[in-house]
Amino acid sequence: MPAPTDRRYIQTHEWHKPDAGQIVIGLSKFAVDELTDITYIDLVKTEGPIKAGEVFGEIESVKATSEMYCGVDGVISSINTEVIENPAIINQDPYERGWLIKVRPSDPAQLEMLMSAADYDREIAASR
């Protein structure tokens, strides 16, 4: 399934979607499928400033534990408490209900620097 084109991506598989002046961040379906059943989410940064390349949380699955990275500079404005309660939502719906954090970007143009859906799809095809 191709990655949705209404958002941008970083190499570590986090999608970044513009939404009313904010950027919603989650994990791509490819990443979620690689992780298998997700059992635990730890959002280490729940508020305050964050920089591109910084870790905002850890995700655990039956298979592995991984860190999750933010692709833009800004301030975390909200987190998805629903997925913390029920991490399986990320497996079921990684692109909508399974979002993780929202960031108010300090420079909205920074988003355009991230990978397009087509580039991201090429990236994961090449990694297989």
């Binding site: 990443a31 298998t36 059992t39 635990y40 039956v62 298979k63 991984s66 860190e67 497996n91 990694s127």
Partner: protein, 379 residues
């Protein structure tokens, strides 16, 4: 999220087509391309605890022993006595090195006139060469049937009802007994064994028609709604199922530096083999006898963790400030809903109820020692 992938030439079982048709996510396991899951590890786990799941375990090694000294070779290399086994019986045993370290954990089958050993995929070549080495001077033929046969495990409380449609003999089998049946004009070996903590069978059949036979079985299990009572389950669920059942996995709880006594597998040792009439000791017996007398320095325990985080193999276990052990396997138990782990801890540090901590990076997770297994069917 970061990850690494690599691809190389992998072995495929006769069920490869079946896996891809059922949407399996395939992974490398001991050089074999195997299904880790079809839809969800947790859903497949629950299927086996409540209904019937079908696992492809064809990657496991199947070694046939014939010849006058077949029994003698097995007595020499298996830690558990086999001479008293009746035809139609199977038995869980270890293969050890001279130091008593585990080379593999295996199941041995006694047939009329030959023996069969089912070994771990990751250890097949090592065990073959070990057995050939030990067979020197003996009249025994070892045939590796791993590629000419296939093997499936059908596990869960609903399995016997489904198998009962084909055979009245199989549901009457006792645990660790097997029979030979004709399925689609071919001989299948069906044993009442498994690695999930549930009732069920493991079936060995010729590779050629294995996929058709399994398709037939699954189709025949369809209820009125058209949904099959038997659904495929992957190696991911097999791992969480065996963990809940407190069963060791080679490479985790067992390896060449671990003895069976520390692993709580003393029941799989016959330390008096040499005292039998014309008996001889098995490889590792002297070392294991010494450990049995002196006591193990560490033991395998079950841990239940506070919170929701899963520990991982290799994480250190602490009691107060002292490092007392290491985690060997862990998961969020799908049945119990809590994180569980198995760990080796220093003897005396792992009594049931003891509080310990597991180091996750710089953090410590609270845990308590609990009885193994975590899950027992019918409780």
């Amino acid at each position: 999220m970061t990850q690494a992938t690599e691809s190389h030439q992998q072995l495929r079982t006769p069920f490869y087509g079946y896996h891809t048709e059922h949407g399996a996510k395939m992974v490398d396991f001991a050089g074999w391309e195997m299904p880790i899951l079809y839809r969800s590890i947790h859903a497949e786990h629950k299927l086996v605890r409540t209904g019937a799941g079908l696992f492809d375990v064809s990657h496991m090694g199947r070694l046939k022993f014939t010849g006058r000294d077949a029994r003698r070779l097995l007595e020499r290399t298996l830690t558990r006595r086999v001479s008293d086994m009746q035809e139609g019986a199977c038995r869980y045993s270890m293969v050890c090195n001279d130091a008593g370290g585990v080379l593999d954990d295996v199941i041995v089958y006694r047939f009329d006139g030959h023996w069969l050993l089912v070994v771990n995929a990751s250890n097949r070549e090592k065990i073959l060469s070990h057995l050939h080495g030990q067979a020197e001077g003996l009249s025994v033929n070892i045939e590796d049937q791993t590629f000419s046969t296939a093997m499936v495990a059908i596990q869960g409380p609903g399995v016997m009802e489904q198998i009962g449609r084909f055979s009245s003999e199989v549901p009457a089998l006792k645990r660790y007994r097997f029979c030979e049946k004709n399925l689609l004009m071919m001989q299948a070996v069906i044993s009442r064994t498994g690695y999930t903590g549930e009732d069920g069978v493991e079936v060995i059949l010729p590779a050629k028609m294995a996929a058709q036979a399994v398709n037939l079985l699954v189709r025949e299990s369809q209820g009125e709604g058209g949904e099959s009572a038997i659904q495929p389950a992957g190696l991911g669920a097999r791992d969480t199922l065996r963990m809940e059942a407190g069963m060791p996995l080679y490479g985790h709880e067992l390896d060449e530096t671990t003895d069976p006594l520390s692993a709580g597998l003393g029941f799989a040792l016959s330390l008096d083999k040499d005292e039998q009439d014309r008996g001889e000791p098995f490889v590792g017996q002297a070392a294991l006898k010494k450990i049995a007398v002196e006591g193990s320095t560490r033991k395998l325990v079950g841990l239940e963790l506070d919170g929701r985080r899963t520990a991982r193999q290799g994480m250190a276990v602490f009691k107060g400030d002292g490092e007392v052990g290491v985690v060997t396997s862990a998961c969020l138990s799908p049945t119990l809903g809590v994180p569980i782990a198995m760990a080796y801890v220093a003897s005396g540090c792992g009594e049931v109820g003891d509080a310990v901590e597991i180091a996750v990076g710089a953090k410590r997770l609270g845990a308590k020692v609990v009885k193994l297994p975590f899950y027992k069917r019918g409780e």
